[in-house]
């Protein structure tokens, strides 16, 4: 531990600290322009010059580069220091007369007007080298550097020509003390696949994220992007978050992992996707920023959303009239014939939020109000009491008017009249549908699907969580549209079914399963294609049946061209014997 005296008071310092470190740590103000804690001190702006007295010798040194040696006496405000900083700020102000940072610093040292003639009044760069160092030392993109020397020194890419080596990370713009660097989108598509500009590559996904920890966006993170450029080799670039994280919690080596697990049962809970309202053009989705889906409304009204939870139009004003259209894509033979079951209730919630947050008039276009759950009807009544206008009838068309307003047309079935309402915002309560890649899951587990695309349960009334494949269960919207309480109940039932299996430890299966005579099997694979339970695999070129999966349906037995598969306890001989027996009795 080193002891040194700064401005008359004693301070302690570590061996690797500089005078500037000690001063900053103890709240002693020293102006700097070329210093940044994430980079090696450079000592170019000389503004942090202080008087250092060592062994009785007094000298001016830069605090950013001078080690905090034991026994030093440092004066940060002596007349000699002030004079140097004053002259320096005069030089900087003459170079960059219109940069606020420079103006303010100069004023602190009593310089209000540039003492010398200015060559280029638009000059903002003070050649502190922070951008060069961040690009070369941290980002390791090595795109910009100094060229020429002395007073002609300037910063830029090689030959001051545009370069595609710039990854557009924006680190230089962040460290530049004078705002001399702008990132300009030159042509659409140059960086199409990567976001441009100072995007924080490490962030907490949303205020309500669980767990609430930051994630690294590898598409934006300089280190990962440099890794892409070095063909997968680990790039030692940037790593500022790791350097500065006191908890030492940053681990760049964490990767997505594929785990191989041997399990006895699987719960398929693959959920749903939102139906895309662009598929029906009458809703004009995409033609106005004010036609949004229910999901987008959720984001808008979320406290962690772009407006901090306020419901606003794109110009920042509050909407005065809002229409909410039910059954967009549901109960519609042009989209999905089924009822999505959740839209009525979330539409009512949206109506309530709009009323509550903006006081706007709300029009709900609905066909039937399906408030079937516990307490749902009461909520429906409450929303009606809040002054929401209920229009019974499908909102048929949304037009975008030339003045930007939206016109919703539909039929009011109660009045038997056609209706047109001009509103500022339209919320489309879009349908939910089975995920687009449900067919892959279906093939993987041998799951059936109903006509509407959801996975089929074993029995619609009596076995709602089981599937026809033993050990595979369904939970939530994978099986069909459900709201939150129904999903929780369904998932609970699926878990209980799995627990039942686990508790038993072993399963009893019917003895009528198919078996392959390996001598006769030619390995044609026809049985693999027809087995509805994915019970057959090819082992060493021949079919093999997993008896635990086989239901003894006999499809493979009937299909096998070489007659190599037989159903145990259900052989041709047994059937013929049964027939003979019946006939003999007769």
């Amino acid at each position: 531990m080193n002891k040194l005296i700064i401005d008359g008071a004693e301070y302690q310092a570590q061996d690797d600290q500089t005078i500037l470190d000690v001063c900053r740590q103890n709240g002693i103000e020293i102006p700097t322009l070329c210093y940044h804690p994430a980079m090696e001190p450079y000592g170019a702006c000389r503004l942090c010059t202080v008087e250092v007295i060592r062994h009785g010798w007094s000298n001016l040194h830069t605090a950013c580069t001078h080690p905090a040696w034991d026994g030093l006496e440092v004066k940060t405000q002596s007349p000699a220091v002030y004079d140097v900083r004053r002259t320096l700020m005069g030089l900087f102000l003459s170079r960059c007369p219109h940069v606020p940072v420079i103006q303010n610093l100069a004023r602190q040292y009593g310089v209000t007007e540039p003492p010398f003639a200015t060559d280029d009044p638009d000059q903002k760069c003070i050649l502190c080298g922070l951008c060069v160092r961040v690009c070369n030392d941290l980002v390791k993109a090595n795109v910009i550097n100094f060229s020429d020397r002395g007073i002609d020194r300037q910063v830029g890419p090689p030959f001051l020509e545009k370069t595609r080596d710039c990854i557009g990370c924006g680190a230089c713009t962040i460290v530049c003390p004078t705002g001399a660097i702008d990132i300009v989108l030159e042509e659409a598509g140059v960086y199409a696949e990567k976001p441009l500009g100072p995007t924080a590559a490490i962030y907490v996904p949303s205020l309500q994220a669980v767990p609430r920890v930051p994630v690294i966006d590898t598409d934006s993170c300089i280190r990962f992007r440099q890794q892409d450029r070095s063909n997968g080799k680990i790039a030692d670039a940037c790593g500022v978050c790791q350097t500065l994280c006191e908890a030492n919690a940053i681990d760049f080596d964490q990767q997505d992992e594929i785990l191989d697990l041997t399990v006895g049962s699987v719960i398929v809970a693959t959920g749903f996707e939102m139906w895309d309202p662009k598929k029906l053009s009458q809703y004009s989705y995409g033609r106005s920023p004010h036609i949004i889906t229910g999901m987008e409304f959720e984001r808008l009204s979320n406290a962690g959303g772009p407006t901090g939870g306020q419901i606003l139009l794109s110009d920042g004003s509050k909407p005065k009239r809002v229409a909410i259209i039910h059954c967009v894509g549901s109960r519609d033979h042009n989209a999905h014939a089924y009822c999505s079951r959740i839209c009525c209730m979330y539409s009512l919630k949206h109506a309530h939020l709009v009323r509550d947050k903006t006081g706007a008039e709300v029009y709900e276009f609905y066909m039937d109000m399906r408030a079937f759950g516990k307490g749902y009807e009461e909520f429906y009544e409450r929303v009606q009491e809040e002054g929401v206008t209920m229009v019974r009838g499908r909102g048929a068309v949304v037009d975008v008017l030339p003045n930007g307003k939206l016109r919703v047309k539909g039929e009011d079935a109660d009045l038997g009249k056609l209706l047109a309402v001009d509103v500022d915002m339209v919320v489309l309560s879009t349908a939910i549908e089975a995920p687009h890649d449900a067919d892959k899951i279906s093939a993987l587990f041998g799951l059936g699907r109903t006509a509407d695309g959801w996975f089929a349960e074993a029995h619609p009334k009596l076995r709602p969580v089981e599937t026809n494949t033993d050990g595979v269960f369904l939970a939530g919207c994978a099986q069909g549209p459900k709201d939150v309480p129904d999903t929780v109940a369904h998932a609970g039932a699926a878990s209980a079914a799995v627990l039942g299996l686990l508790d038993r430890g072993e399963v009893v299966i019917a003895p009528t399963v198919a078996e392959v005579n390996r001598d006769d099997c030619v390995g044609c694979g026809d049985c693999l294609l027809v087995c509805p339970y994915t019970a057959i695999t090819r082992v060493e070129g021949k079919a093999q049946i997993n008896a635990a999966l086989c239901k003894g349906c006999g499809t493979c037995v009937a299909t096998c061209p070489s007659g190599a598969i037989m159903a145990l306890h259900f052989t041709d001989d047994q059937i013929v014997a049964q027939i003979d027996g019946v006939l003999a009795w007769a």
């Binding site: 000592g43 702006c45 580069t65 004079d83 140097v84 002259t87 080298g129 002395g150 007073i151 020194r153």
Partner: protein, 609 residues
């Protein structure tokens, strides 16, 4: 073994038109059938630039000056065949016009003491045999076979040798720090990046005696514990690069470099790194950056290079002149070396004596010689009719010392105290036709171009100082500008990052110290008494003194002077460009410099060209 010859023709001055001399000599000697008995050797620099090219004939030591290829047959006929000097080509003592035949008798060399340049001009730099013949590598042998590294360092410390690159750091101390620094790999670096305009000591040394540098480096390597050395030499010195490369190759062949030198087990190798000629690369940290292949920019030196230098390893960087002293110190002993020079500055120093002086050239004098002795006794004083006004030492970042202080003894301390510095050894004599504002401006112009631009005070400050100086010499300045100039100079001196910046204001500060009145005259009277700042002066003919000789008419490039023979001439002020050629040419002091503002007061005179 080398063949034996009865005579050697030593040709120095290998630059410029003298390149033809050696081939001409060889042809002539061949023609006379003496090829087997007389040898022609191209040696290094003799330093006597004012009379070059010089040729000397050994073993008798005839010394011929201003030799042209046309003179060659006569020299061969008279000296080599008939054995008598060619009087016409010998050096003539300027005052008595007496002919001096032998090299040793010439006063230019009389007061000099050649330790560093002991061999330049006398041996063939491309032959290791010749270097060995004059005692070369004997010191390395002595060190490797009979001394420990500590003893070598002790000897260098006792000798009092200090860095010849300018700052004058004690060489022994530097070696000791490097030896004590932690690390397996250490380096010895020879700084041959001589950047001062008009300086060529290092160049002459590397061209004329490369082995002396290599031997010094090898001894340094042994002392500090390094097995690798680098010579950093600017690429503008192609002959130096060539001779050094050749010397390294020869030393390898003789086992004087490489593994197990002289059977001692000590290994040392030397590489050559060519610099691109940036002045700032003479600064040690910038030089090492450049050596590492980076842009040559200085960095803060709170940790010394002896601890963390090249590639962050302990590095001992010495000037080539410092290193060339080492073999002599090792052979003749520290006491002998310490007996030369002053209390704190031992040995000799090479200077490039240039400027308004009769005998410009490369000289080597013992420390402590006065500036007066150097300028007048060796340099021969100013040319006819001129007076020495000041001496500028230390290169572009040195300072000007006025005539009143010419009895200063030249050593590190006295020069710094006088506001100048030793530097690498530039010495420019300035006469009364030199404007001190202009000379500051000249050096700052150079420094503005050579500043690397890393730190703000040097980059921005030099530019602003130069602007003020330009304004002063154009007559656009006001009195307060001198104070601004001084403030700027002091800030640049105090706050700059490296030695270049810290010493950049020296030309301004030293001229302000000694010639402030001349600055003020520029501002208040709008007049440059030396006639250099053209915007401020006019040249007129003094009728009483003009003899009408017409010499000025001949030299005037603008045809601005008219006048008939034996009648006073007239200068047409409308076309005169104030070049001052007439002033310099006039033998009767009939041309006078007056302030520009007084031109309108002159009686109107018609000029008939």
């Amino acid at each position: 073994m080398a063949d034996l010859y009865r005579a050697d023709v030593l040709i120095s001055c290998l630059h410029g038109q003298s390149a033809d001399l050696a081939p001409t000599f060889r042809q002539e000697i061949e023609r006379r059938g003496m090829a087997g008995e007389v040898r022609v050797v191209e040696t290094g620099c003799r330093g006597f630039c004012s009379v070059g090219p010089v040729v000397s004939i050994q073993p008798d030591g005839e010394f011929y000056v201003n030799v042209q290829p046309a003179d060659v047959p006569e020299i061969v006929e008279e000296t080599l065949v008939k054995g008598r000097p060619v009087q016409r080509l010998t050096y003539k003592e300027p005052t008595t016009r007496k002919s001096i035949t032998k090299y040793d008798d010439i006063p230019f060399y009389g007061k000099q003491m050649r330790i560093v340049f002991r061999n330049t001009g006398l041996i063939d730099p491309q032959s290791i045999d010749e270097y060995i013949a004059v005692g070369g590598y004997e010191a390395l042998g002595k060190v490797l076979t009979s001394m420990t590294p500590e003893e070598v360092i002790e000897e260098v410390k006792k000798s009092g040798l200090r860095g010849r690159g300018g700052a004058g750091f004690r060489t022994g101390r530097k070696w000791e720090s490097t030896r004590k620094a932690k690390g397996d790999v250490k380096y010895v670096i020879a700084n041959g990046d001589e950047g001062d305009p008009g300086a060529f000591m290092d160049r002459s040394l590397m061209e004329g005696d490369p082995h002396a540098v290599l031997e010094g480096m090898a001894i340094a390597g042994f002392a500090v514990g390094a097995n690798q050395g680098y010579v950093y030499v600017r690429d503008e010195y192609p002959l130096a690069v060539k001779n050094l490369n050749l010397a390294i190759q020869q030393a390898h062949e003789y086992g004087l470099l490489g593994e197990d030198i002289l059977g001692s087990g000590f290994a040392f190798d030397i590489g050559i790194v060519r610099g691109a000629g940036a002045f700032v690369c003479g600064e040690s940290s910038a030089l090492m950056q450049s050596l590492e292949g980076k842009v040559g920019e200085p960095r803060s030196k709170h940790v010394h290079a002896t601890d963390r230098g090249l590639w962050d390893r302990p590095s001992c960087l010495n000037n080539v002149e410092t290193l060339a002293n080492i073999p002599v110190i090792m052979l003749r002993g520290a006491e002998w070396f310490a007996s030369i020079g002053t209390e704190n500055s031992k040995g000799t120093k090479g200077f490039c004596l240039v400027g308004k002086i009769r005998n410009p050239g490369l000289i080597e004098v013992p420390m402590g010689m006065t500036l007066k002795e150097i300028i007048y006794d060796i340099g021969g004083g100013p040319p006819r009719g001129r007076k020495v006004k000041a001496v500028q030492t230390g290169g572009p970042s040195g300072g000007c010392i006025p005539t009143s202080r010419l009895d200063l003894a030249v050593d590190y301390e006295t020069l710094s105290q006088a506001g100048s510095m030793m530097g690498s050894g530039g010495m420019i004599a300035l006469d009364d036709r030199t404007c001190m504002v202009d000379i500051s401006r000249f050096f700052l112009e150079f420094l503005k171009d050579e500043s690397c631009g890393k730190c703000a005070p040097c980059r921005e400050g030099i530019k602003r100082m130069l602007e003020i100086l330009t304004a002063i010499s154009n007559g656009d300045a006001k009195m307060g500008d001198i104070d601004t100039l001084e403030t700027l100079a002091k800030t640049v001196q105090a706050a700059s990052l490296c030695g270049l910046g810290k010493s950049a204001p020296n030309p301004v500060l030293s001229t302000l110290q000694y010639f402030r009145q001349e600055y003020e005259q520029h501002i208040t009277e709008k007049f440059c008494p030396s006639g250099v700042c053209r915007s401020l002066v006019a040249y007129v003919v003094v009728d009483d003194k003009c003899k009408g000789c017409g010499l000025c008419i001949k030299v005037c490039s603008q045809e601005s002077i008219a006048g008939s023979a034996k009648q006073p001439h007239v200068i047409d002020q409308a076309t005169c460009i104030q070049c001052g050629a007439c002033f310099d040419a006039c033998r009767f002091d009939a041309i006078q410099v007056i302030p520009r503002s007084q031109v309108e007061l002159l009686p109107k005179q018609e000029v008939h060209a």
